[in-house]
């Protein structure tokens, strides 16, 4: 999605990227982004918490309209309230038709 943001911006449309994976954002450098330190799947807030969602979205829109340095990641001040993990279920397995192509061949 960071790559997509870069292309869209390159052809003349400003973007704002609302992400929760800060290390990925630092690598791919979307033109403008805000970081929300929440579990994946909650970049715009908690379910049915309209006030929180609106606050995050408005912060993102302010970043869209005010940032002037390409590649800036703005850390938004929201806290999830408890520790959280990766977001992929434990014991994650790929389905049979998605196994790695010729895994470990030659190694």
């Amino acid at each position: 999605m960071g790559l997509l943001a870069r292309v869209i911006e390159e052809v003349g449309i400003p973007t704002i990227y609302v992400g929760s994976a800060r290390d990925m954002m630092e690598q791919v450098k979307p033109p403008r982004s805000v970081f929300v330190n929440f579990p994946l799947g909650h970049q715009c807030g908690k379910p049915f918490d309209r006030e929180l969602q609106m606050s995050i979205i408005k912060d993102a829109l302010q970043a869209l309209s005010t940032l002037d340095e390409p590649g800036t990641v703005v850390d938004l001040p929201y806290e999830w309230g408890e520790d959280f993990g990766f977001g992929v279920a434990d014991g994650y397995q790929l389905p049979p038709d998605q196994q790695p192509p010729v895994a470990n061949k030659g190694s």
Binding site: V7, P47, V88
Partner: protein, 162 residues
């Protein structure tokens, strides 16, 4: 808490499953277009990459890889008509309230209160999944969406990655 190190965790997960190391895109610089209008005059489109579609559209494969298709989501789509098919993170909260990742109701409210000019008529759901076609992602999918945004005079794109 400290931000989770997703790159390291994903590398460990997939290399543990037998995949070769993933070639992350790493850049020193980026692209830039200034926003020329105040927010209250902007037409803004939403784009979410969580395998998001309308229930009357073909669903995404939850385990999709390099899926370069998109689904058009009209601005008046009722939230109960939207669905996420995605295996790469826990979206149980977003299933209950899609605004967690695709804040279409909030943007309709922002339009009504005049905070933004308007929500675009057409918004976008993407699948993508694990992406091994980065050139095509840029030259096909991103270029196609860029053309559509320009053709409908969208002023800015609000992106929520999965």
């Amino acid at each position: 808490m400290e931000p989770i190190k997703y790159v390291k965790m994903l590398d460990e997960l997939y290399q543990g499953l037998g995949f070769p190391p993933y070639k992350w895109s790493v850049f020193r610089t980026t692209t830039w277009t200034p926003l020329e209008k105040p927010l209250e005059k902007c037409r803004i489109a939403l784009c979410c990459s969580s395998g998001l579609s309308r229930k009357d559209q073909p669903p995404y494969d939850p385990y999709c890889r390099s899926d370069l298709s998109f689904r058009e989501i009209p601005k008046d789509t009722p939230v109960e008509d939207l669905v996420i098919n995605y295996a790469y993170y826990d979206h149980s909260d977003a299933d209950k309230d899609i605004n967690c990742v695709f804040p279409i109701e909030r943007f309709r409210e922002l339009e009504k209160e005049g905070y933004i000019g308007e929500l675009a008529e057409i918004n976008y759901g993407l699948g993508m999944g694990r992406m091994y076609k980065r050139t095509a992602l840029q030259t096909q999918l991103a270029a196609d969406i860029a053309r559509r945004l320009k053709g409908t005079e969208v002023d800015a794109l609000f992106l929520v990655p999965a």
